[in-house]
Symmetry: C2
Subunit: 426 residues, 2 copies
């Protein structure tokens, strides 16, 4: 059985431990919600201050050239690319995840239906992240297409010849379950279906190999595991084989071949620049760079492979300790035990009280979050969600988090009225 | 004839002069490009630092509630609304101008064509800001509609029964010419046509009365006259009579009626929240608030009416001084002399050398910008563009700018090789 001393020994031996010093972690907080909003890289305060005071305040419009605002989305994309198995010149950081999904889904539909007009369906997973489904629903409504939602085990059977696009999130936001990207992409391609992968809970959390999997399109989030700051711009990737056919209706000036020629007709830029639309929020975009810089520093310590190894050790330890020390309180495990099917989070289920337990933990400065179940079928129970970011979470944090959970459960603390009133928006 | 002393006297008597102290203007610079990127409000550095260190760094996800990130787009919209003649609860600050144009143009097309399917055209001005035309072109391509571009004097004749939407920019980015919003909206409505107004060069620059004009939809820019910072989020307004019919395919989670219920189907929020899509860049959005705060402070000094009076006095003075002191060098005036047709900028034309003259002025720390003409028809000549932001530009600035222009022209300084090489992206 793992002990506190074992956890301390694991931290002492952790080759990635130096990365924790890159972050400004609040004192006394065990932050297990980096899958929702990543923590602050220490470098961000000075970087953002410089963008405000010098690039904006002093240099003003000259910064388009002198600070290279103009290719910042591409430069950040090049820095992010190795984390997802993309090549240089294939990724841009821009807009929100939802907007980027609209771009790639629209482009994928255009391509699939140009080649095969009878393909009228988008297939996705019923428990995919809702905004992905909302964007797909919006596009389907606009174009008279159909969004088909299935359970994970029914995806393969749904890949029929009338499907244009398979749209999936690699790691499920509710359960932490991870799809086999290569197998599903291969199965889809065998039916002539294009694949769109959402990497919101994957980029920076698990190794991703978009080229290796043969994926067609991908998008992801800047403010979760990439630690880019609240609402940081998202990213978009398109396989180079599709880049020149990429066309979507969000055809703004920043994606134009000659944006300062001010011609009245739209000519998409060659390559990835055409994935851009309007002017980007430079201050927020600059903060994202500080998050990416930590991953660049992590390269020397083993990169995503080392981060994955630690992530699995953290989530294994958490699962083991919860099962050993919190037994008898009705907790279940929603996250797969199989490493190949697990992202970087652990989700526990509980029939009643999940919300209040999360609130009681937050009052103890152990921050995870609650996700409501479907309340009916029993397929999706209420969830206590804990994200483990190997850049800054250690094994003693895991021990302490479980110890707090044990105390909250054993004392019945979570039944106090203040933990059972939901006044918050999140 | 206006003298330097006259200009100094005008500054001394200017009731808006105290507003200049709200901005961190670079030493020795006469900044006449606030129509492209507004200057830094002094409050922004501390505000942004607090968002980074406290809201992000310390409070983390709790800031969704404690810092009210969740309704920041609506709160900024309410602060902006009086500048454009909108009511409370009608405006949100979000996404980019291009993305917001896509939303309202899409919604307008849905409404117009639902009521009257034979309406297959969008009418706009050929010299409208290019990104507006690109977005309209993208939508038309997607839906098999037609974008009809006309000269300003031909707009009225183009408002035929097959037109769904008239899409115009209120103040032209090239010439500073301002449309009569009420007259054109009334003419369009008489033909059953919906109106979309882009206020990129109007909001904070000239008084706008969206309700008074009876406009249907409007969007605008946060980083020009509103001084929201590089790439600041833009804004979107919809007349309340259309709010409940507003539907567009960028249906992301932040526009959902119950975003944290995580239901798989999209239900638009009641009211303006449905104009939102994905998560917003909170740091950049917070900086925009500092720009809006200066307008709130300006309310006590007469607000937009006083700013307009000063703006016209500044542009009148500039035109007068250029014509008196820079005569004989081939400069023309692209901006209307008529006050009712003029925004807050003055554009000069020159057949040759316009680019080099702008570069020579920039080398003297007088910052305006150059916009290329069409090189052919003679309708659109090369332009030297000077924006006059009455919040921080004074009459002595105008005098000095013209004096530099005079010297650049009289000495032939602009003909030096270094001013004739265009290596910059902007």
């Amino acid at each position: 059985m793992t002990t506190l001393n074992d956890c301390r020994a694991l931290d002492a031996a952790d080759p990635l431990r130096p990365l924790r010093s890159h972050f400004a972690l609040p004192d006394g907080v065990i932050y297990l919600d980096g899958n929702s909003l990543g923590v602050l890289p220490k470098a961000a305060a000075a970087r953002v201050a410089d963008v405000v005071a010098r690039e904006w305040g002093t240099d003003l419009i000259r910064s388009w050239n002198t600070a290279r605002w103009f290719d910042l989305p591409q430069r950040l994309g090049d820095q992010l690319a190795p984390l997802v198995g993309a090549g240089p010149g294939e990724v841009v950081c821009t807009d929100s995840t939802s907007i980027n999904l609209y771009k790639v889904l629209s482009a994928a539909l255009n391509m699939a239906r140009e080649d095969s007009p009878g393909r009228t369906r988008i297939v996705s997973e019923r428990s995919n992240f809702p905004t992905d489904l909302y964007i797909a629903e919006g596009l389907c409504k606009e174009r008279g297409l159909e969004l088909v939602l299935v359970e994970p085990e029914d995806i393969a059977a749904a890949l029929t010849s009338d499907v244009a696009v398979l749209m999936l999130t690699h790691v499920n936001y509710r359960t932490g379950a991870m799809h086999d990207m290569e197998a599903l992409t291969t199965a889809a391609h065998a039916q002539g279906i294009l694949c769109v992968w959402d990497l919101a809970h994957s980029a920076g959390a698990v190794p991703v190999d978009l080229h290796g999997a043969g994926a067609d399109f991908s998008i992801g989030c800047g403010y979760k595991y990439l630690n880019g700051g609240p609402g940081a711009p998202a990213f978009v990737w398109v396989h180079p084989r599709h880049a020149d056919r990429f066309w979507q209706p969000l055809s703004g000036w920043w994606g134009h071949a000659a944006p300062f020629q001010f011609t009245p007709d739209y000519q998409p830029a060659p390559g990835i620049t055409r994935y851009l639309c309007g002017t980007q929020p430079i201050i927020s975009l600059s903060a994202l760079q500080c998050g990416l810089d930590v991953f660049t520093a992590a390269q020397a310590l083993g990169g995503m492979a080392a981060l994955r190894q630690k992530s699995l050790a953290l989530t294994d330890t958490f699962i083991d300790l919860v099962e050993a020390r919190c037994a008898g309180h009705g907790l279940g495990l929603a996250t797969p035990r199989e490493h190949a099917q697990r992202g970087s989070q652990v989700c526990l289920t509980k029939d009643t009280g999940a919300y209040a337990i999360v609130q009681a933990l937050i009052a103890r400065n152990v921050i995870g979050d609650f996700r409501k179940g479907d309340g009916g079928t029993g397929r999706h129970k209420d969830i206590l969600r804990f994200g483990f970011t190997p850049l800054y979470i250690g094994f003693e944090d895991v021990w302490n988090a479980v110890e707090h959970l044990r105390e909250v459960l054993e004392t019945g603390e979570w039944q106090r009225p203040e933990f059972n009133q939901n006044n918050a928006v999140t």
